[in-house]
């Protein structure tokens, strides 16, 4: 059973984070949103497994309550 890996898994985390921020340099907010969305789709396809994707979607929504919803 594949599970979502939430333990450290990125080989060089600081390098990756820097690349991620650099990716958006010079972009407008709208362009950044587009690039982020493309990134999500590319990574989701790479993962492929529905159970892992569902777990990631749920983890992303954790601690983000819709306005008006009970915290």
């Amino acid at each position: 059973m594949p599970v979502l890996c939430t333990e450290p898994n990125i080989a060089a985390p600081d390098d990756f984070y820097e690349l991620l921020i650099a990716l958006h340099r010079d972009l407008t907010h709208a362009q950044s949103e587009l690039v982020n969305a493309k990134l999500v789709l590319l990574l989701a396809n790479h993962i492929g497994d529905t159970a892992v994707l569902r777990a990631a979607l749920a983890a992303a929504r954790q601690d983000v309550a819709a306005p008006g919803a009970e915290a």
């Binding site: 587009l34 493309k38 999500v40 789709l41 396809n45």
Partner: protein, 546 residues
């Protein structure tokens, strides 16, 4: 319209309009595609049927244009398929554009060895006209034009209707009422019933134009094209050099303004070129909805087609699914009328077609959400998908401008007999699946499906069923014909030959394999060896006798 003149079907006074109310076994409200299909199916099996329609002609202007393979196969069984296919435009290639660029193209051409293609395009008025012509060939069916149902009273053993005509009102009684009076369904309202769901906050301009061009017969879909920025456009070819153009307008558009030729002309010229030569045949502005009734059967009143469920047109699931409704319903109703099945068999219509409606609504809602994103972030993901699709194959699978209308596989159906323990089958022909077609040679047609659909059929590979056993099945109260694949002819069997080997392949047929098919050509049981008692038990189960 230049290319089509609506026929006028004359109102005729019926003897039922005089004296005490007549009692009919089945009345159908609505002579749209669905009501007409129901009437043909009933009359083909000698059930007398009266169709009431408030109008005196077929659809004014085209609505539905794409008929999918399964609907065409049903129309074949109803004796109309060939005429529709011959007049219509078959197509397999679809192209999707984003802004100026071709994002990808797809080919729906299924594997060969099927009689009917993925889709045939034909204006809805032709479809209806051909169905009306077919009704005229059947002595058991009668259409009463300019007969509007204005009152419905459900009684214990019948339904009483009030019908308004040019000669005034009359009352008509029936054992069973099939309601196929369209999305607004006055009968549904008269009975205080509702269809719940979602209205999409968007408007679409539908224009049918007559134009001679050398565009190929393909489905072209644009997201955000330069000639209609921020919205989508769809182009489809129909018969008689008529093209369907569908412009997304947005919620704020004024439907009355947008329908005017002086508004439509410039939109079309921006798209087709300043010197494009076309005539506008018909135009209309629509909003789309996805809604369904909670139950399709209310005692003796049974809803079908748009009256029971409506979907947005992306994916062509409206008329296509309505025709599958009546295909599912009519054999059950016939058995009930003949006293050969209990009334609860009709509840399986509700179970099966509700599941199909949910599937159609889910598909059509997903397409509509992609075409009409409801939020800013939904729009961002949509555009991200389209941008990725130009370079990366994975993203093309996510682009949704309408999915192919495919029939529901009724794996959940209460009428199915589960496979015997230990028996394995490859392929798609599970209990609940509509039978796949295949080329055959035999005493009649050269397509398998033409041999199925007159009652229950046992498709038997090899000579597992001895002729006397076949003769006995045919003499049962609910008869079952044996269709043998391969081997010699015998009086009690119909034998077809699997000329291309596709039957064995599609059904994983080995000597001894038997498939039981319902009158609507749906698999309801299968075995690796013949057992007459098991076949009888499966037929009893498929007719709600246990």
């Amino acid at each position: 319209m230049k290319t089509y003149t609506n026929p006028v079907y004359a109102y005729r006074r019926s003897p039922d309009q005089d004296g005490t109310p007549a009692r009919r076994p089945v009345v159908v409200v609505g002579a749209g595609p669905v009501g007409l299909a129901a009437a043909i199916d009933l009359a083909q099996s000698d059930v007398p049927v009266v169709v009431l329609d408030e109008d005196n002609t077929v659809s004014v202007g085209s609505r539905a244009i794409c008929y999918a393979k399964r609907a065409l196969e049903i129309l074949d069984r109803l004796g109309c398929g060939e005429r529709i296919v011959r007049k219509g435009v078959g197509w397999n290639v679809g192209k999707v554009f984003h802004r100026q660029e071709l994002v990808y193209q797809f080919d729906l051409l299924p594997e060969s060895g099927h009689r009917r293609p993925a889709f045939v395009n034909l204006q809805q008025y032709y479809l209806e006209e051909y169905l009306v012509d077919r009704v005229a060939e059947l002595p058991a069916a009668e259409i009463r034009w300019e007969n509007r149902v204005t009152g419905v009273r459900v009684r214990a053993d019948h339904v009483a209707l009030t019908v308004a005509t040019p000669d005034g009102d009359y009352e008509l009684h029936c054992d069973w009422l099939i309601v196929a009076d369209g999305a607004r369904s006055p009968v549904r309202t008269l009975l205080g019933l509702e269809a719940d769901g979602q209205v999409f906050r968007d408007r679409f301009l539908i224009a049918d134009i007559h134009m001679r061009t050398d565009f190929p017969p393909e489905r072209w879909f644009w997201f955000d094209p330069p000639f209609h920025p921020n919205q989508s456009v769809l182009l489809h070819r129909q018969a008689d050099d008529v093209w369907r153009v569908d412009f997304q307008l947005g919620w704020d558009a004024d439907p009355e303004e947008e329908k005017k030729p002086e508004r439509i002309g410039p939109r079309l010229r921006a798209m087709l070129g300043a010197d494009a030569d076309f005539d506008i045949e018909w135009a209309s502005v629509y909003t789309f909805q996805c809604r369904r009734m909670r139950r399709f059967r209310h005692g003796r009143v049974i809803f079908a087609g748009d009256a029971a469920h409506v979907v947005s047109p992306f994916g062509a699931r409206g008329a296509n699914s309505g025709i599958q409704d009546t295909d599912n319903l009519v054999w059950k109703l016939r058995l009930v009328l003949e006293g050969l099945a209990p009334e609860r068999l009709l509840d399986s219509y509700d179970v099966e077609r509700s599941a199909a409606a949910d599937e159609n609504i889910a598909n059509s809602t997903r397409s509509t959400d992609f075409i009409t994103p409801k939020s800013a972030i939904s729009r961002v993901f949509r555009d991200a998908t389209l941008q990725l699709a130009r370079r990366h194959p994975f993203a093309r699978r996510l682009v949704n401008s309408g999915r192919l209308s495919v029939p529901r596989v009724h794996t959940e159906s209460p009428l199915n007999t589960p496979d015997r323990r230990g028996e394995q089958f490859a392929g798609a022909m599970v209990p609940g699946a509509p039978a796949a077609d295949a080329p055959v040679t035999g005493p009649g047609s050269s397509w398998l499906l033409d041999y199925l659909g007159q009652g229950f059929t046992l498709l038997s590979f090899g000579s597992a069923v001895a002729p006397p056993a076949a003769a006995a099945l045919l003499r049962d109260r609910i008869p079952c014909r044996v269709l043998q694949v391969g081997g010699e002819r015998d009086e009690d069997l119909i034998v077809v030959q699997d000329v291309a080997g596709l039957l064995a392949q599609r059904y994983d047929g080995k000597p001894g394999t038997c498939y039981l098919l319902r009158p609507d050509q749906i698999v309801c049981a299968r075995w690796r060896s013949f057992d007459a008692a098991a076949v009888r038990a499966a037929i009893a189960h498929a007719t709600a006798h246990d």
